[in-house]
């Protein structure tokens, strides 16, 4: 059992950081929320905007506004990033009963969002994540988020593998998406990311449950004193 006794409420407009040592269940939490196969929930519930999230397939969750920025984005050879974005956006719009975007409207939307994230036209033509550097992969994830405009963003270790400049670009991209009707769960190992994406609430995850919650200063405290004290508490 990876998650056990975890309780968390995230309101629209809030950014919650979840910190914890390796193996505390951070990634598992992101997979459970996004509906990855192979994670069985034996007890408990997840309610998203009044609906039972766990009863939905991953694509249904996506159409309802749940987005997971992957720690290790997956390669899809032969499928251009631009094409992928269009298929995804239109699949979601269709599921919501909205009209699909025409190619020119879509191109305008993507170009505007891509420019802000420093994603080049060339990158949009390349196959999804194939041959992307670590920084490019993370920027591409945030671009997907910016185009799909989810209402719940889950960022799984988005800072891993980024140098300081890339981190700033990605964080700026995320901050630009903060809005009163969008919630974010930022999962991270290090406090560094939270200097750029300043959270409203910080939670400490240890051995599958949240052992402490607090303001943004909790992150600094963790940085200084480590996770050891909480592991004792959780045991």
């Amino acid at each position: 059992m990876i998650l056990n006794g975890l309780s968390l409420t995230v309101n629209a407009g809030e950014v919650h950081a979840i910190m914890g040592p390796n193996g505390s269940g951070k990634s598992t939490l992101s997979y459970v929320l996004s509906g990855r196969e192979g994670y069985v929930v034996t007890q408990g519930s997840v309610t998203y905007r009044g609906q039972d999230l766990l009863a939905m397939e991953p694509d249904v969750r996506a159409a309802k506004g749940v987005f997971l920025a992957f720690q290790y984005p997956i390669e899809i050879p032969g499928v251009a990033t631009m094409q992928f974005l269009k298929v995804a956006l239109n699949a979601q719009r269709k599921a919501r009963g909205e009209k699909e975007l025409s190619t020119p409207d879509f191109m305008r939307l993507v170009k505007a969002r891509a420019a802000k994230l420093g994603v080049s036209q060339d990158m949009l033509k390349r196959a999804v994540n194939v041959g992307f550097s670590g920084g490019e992969k993370k920027r591409a994830e945030i671009l997907q988020m910016a185009v799909l405009e989810p209402s719940l963003c889950i960022l799984d270790e988005t800072d891993s593998g980024l140098d300081i400049d890339a981190l700033r670009i990605v964080a700026d991209g995320v901050n630009a998406l903060r809005s009163p009707d969008r919630a974010m769960i930022v999962i991270t190992h290090y406090q560094r990311l939270l200097d750029y994406i300043v959270p409203d609430v910080v939670h400490v995850l240890s051995q599958g449950r949240i052992v402490k919650s607090g303001g943004k200063n909790l992150a600094h405290e963790l940085e200084e004193r480590g996770y050891a004290q909480f592991e004792k508490d959780a045991a």
Partner: protein
């Protein structure tokens, strides 16, 4: 677990979703069942053929009787009783139509239902529609879609050939094989059987004896054929074989692009299709031949479906000649097909691009032969096999360089993609170089659609089915790009349909 799910999805792959399975209720004239010399005479007479053609057929028949079926391919099926088939079937109303107005409306309706409009003005409209951007292509579609001339073959006869007059102005001959035998005997006699001889193999000999219709193309020297040429083959009648024969000649400096499409009704019995296609490219000529083969594949238990035993070969007969085969194989219960190139002329080039999708209980044994005879000849093979369900998908290819084929070059890439764990992908390359100057490269990969890829796509809003179609379309992209623009979007959709129901 996602793995179990993939297995589920494979179990549910529904080959019964074949969309072209309807039957046309039309009265046919059939030859009596069985094959003997009098049947060969009957066919020849029906087609009002000259004596030399009948003699050629009889010669082939006599060789066929002495031959046995090849068994080296990785396909399994009950022995075919060649005496239990009709070797000729033609709609009765088809006696001698001269124009579209005289064609049985039922036939026109059949082709309309298949999305193949035969009235020239509709073809114009239809093609423009096909040229629009496909849903998977964000770069926007081509507005360059040109016109396509079509030869429609129904069972053993050609129903109509469109745009003939316009093509004739450019000197291009595009007609049914039967008509070519009567109208252009000098060309047919010169080239028929010159690439695939009568006794080449069991099925080629059978075809040579009883071939029904097919297309004939001749493009005169230094002429670029002004439009895409296309033949649409339809097997309708029960217990018949379709034995099409196609012959394409590009004279010096000529260029032609040709596409064939094939469908058949859903039937419990197996239907036999044994075609021969011969291409001849003279000096500086280029032939681009594309196939979208979607014969009925049988149901998911393997009942019914077309047996597709085909011999296709091109001869680069002059310097700098080029022949390019592109095939998209999604149908047939059994496919036995190796479109090949004889690179005879110096500097000639052969290409083979293939997408072969097998599902349900389909068995595919397909590939190519690149035979380098001339100096500085080059060839390229890109094969993408996708196996799902309980199907078997084999790539079999031969690349050979003759002693005198100095500096022969080949690059081969064979990629296989497996969906589920009850299917098989096999790669059987044969490479022979008799000159030390030859450079042959072979690359092969086998992969599975990963659960990671599926989840990634689904977490972005794609259904599992859409995710599979997207990943497969990415996998075959290099080959898809070789198809004429007009058919790319259609083919992308066909790939989606072939894998439809692959999720539960």
């Amino acid at each position: 677990m996602a793995d179990t799910d993939t297995i589920e999805l494979v179990k549910d792959i529904d080959v019964d979703k074949y969309k072209y399975g309807f039957t046309t209720d039309i009265e046919s004239e059939l030859a009596p069942k069985g094959l003997n010399e009098s049947i060969v005479r009957f066919i020849s007479e029906k087609k009002r053929e000259p004596e030399w053609m009948l003699e050629w057929r009889l010669g082939a028949y006599r060789r066929w009787v002495e031959m046995t079926e090849p068994t080296w391919a990785r396909v399994h099926y009950p022995k075919i009783d060649f005496q239990d088939l009709h070797y000729y079937a033609a709609p009765k109303s088809m006696a001698a139509p001269k124009s579209l107005d005289e064609i049985d409306p039922k036939l026109l309706e059949t082709y309309a239902k298949l999305g193949i409009p035969l009235k020239e003005q509709e073809i114009l409209a239809g093609v423009r529609r096909q040229g629009e951007s496909s849903e998977l292509d964000s770069e926007g579609g081509g507005e360059t879609a040109g016109r396509v001339a079509i030869d429609a073959v129904f069972d053993s006869v050609s129903v109509v050939t469109t745009f003939k007059d316009e093509l004739a102005k450019a000197g291009v001959i595009f007609c049914s094989m039967s008509e070519a035998v009567r109208e252009h005997p000098e060309l047919v006699q010169k080239y028929l059987g010159s690439v695939v001889p009568q006794g080449d193999n069991f099925y080629a000999a059978l075809n040579s004896a009883v071939f029904s219709d097919g297309s004939f193309v001749y493009v005169p020297p230094n002429t670029r054929c002004p439009m895409e040429l296309s033949t649409y083959f339809r097997i309708n009648e029960r217990n018949t074989g379709q034995f099409e024969r196609t012959l394409i000649i590009a004279d010096r400096g000529a260029y032609v692009s040709y596409l064939e499409g094939c469908t058949a009704p859903t039937r419990d019995e197996n239907q036999l299709h044994a075609a021969v296609v011969e291409l001849i490219a003279l000096e500086d000529a280029e032939i681009k031949y594309s196939t979208v083969q979607n014969w009925y594949p049988g149901d998911k238990e393997g009942k019914g479906g077309v047996y597709n035993f085909v011999t296709k070969r091109g001869d680069c007969r002059g310097r700098n000649a080029k022949i390019s085969w592109t095939q998209v194989e999604t149908g047939s219960a059994i496919t036995w097909k190796y479109p090949s190139c004889i690179l005879r002329g110096d500097n000639s080039r052969g290409e083979f691009y293939s997408i072969a999708i097998s599902n349900g209980r389909q068995q595919v044994d397909s590939g190519t032969k690149m035979i380098h005879l001339g100096k500085n000849t080059s060839s390229r093979i890109i094969s993408k096999g996708i196996a799902a369900g309980r199907s078997d998908n084999t790539y079999r290819g031969l690349v050979t360089a003759h002693r005198k084929a100095t500096n022969a070059r080949n690059f081969t890439q064979c990629d296989s993609l497996l969906i589920g764990d009850k299917c098989g992908a096999h790669t059987v390359p044969y490479i022979e170089a008799k000159t030390s100057t030859a450079q042959f490269e072979h690359e092969a990969t086998t992969s599975k659609i990963s659960d990671d890829q599926l989840f990634y796509c689904m977490s972005r809003g794609l259904s599992e089915e859409e995710a599979v179609a997207l990943i497969v379309n990415g996998f075959v992209r290099d080959v898809l790009q070789q198809l004429p623009m007009e058919f790319m979007a259609e083919t992308q959709k066909l790939i989606g349909i072939s894998l439809e129901g692959s999720v539960g």
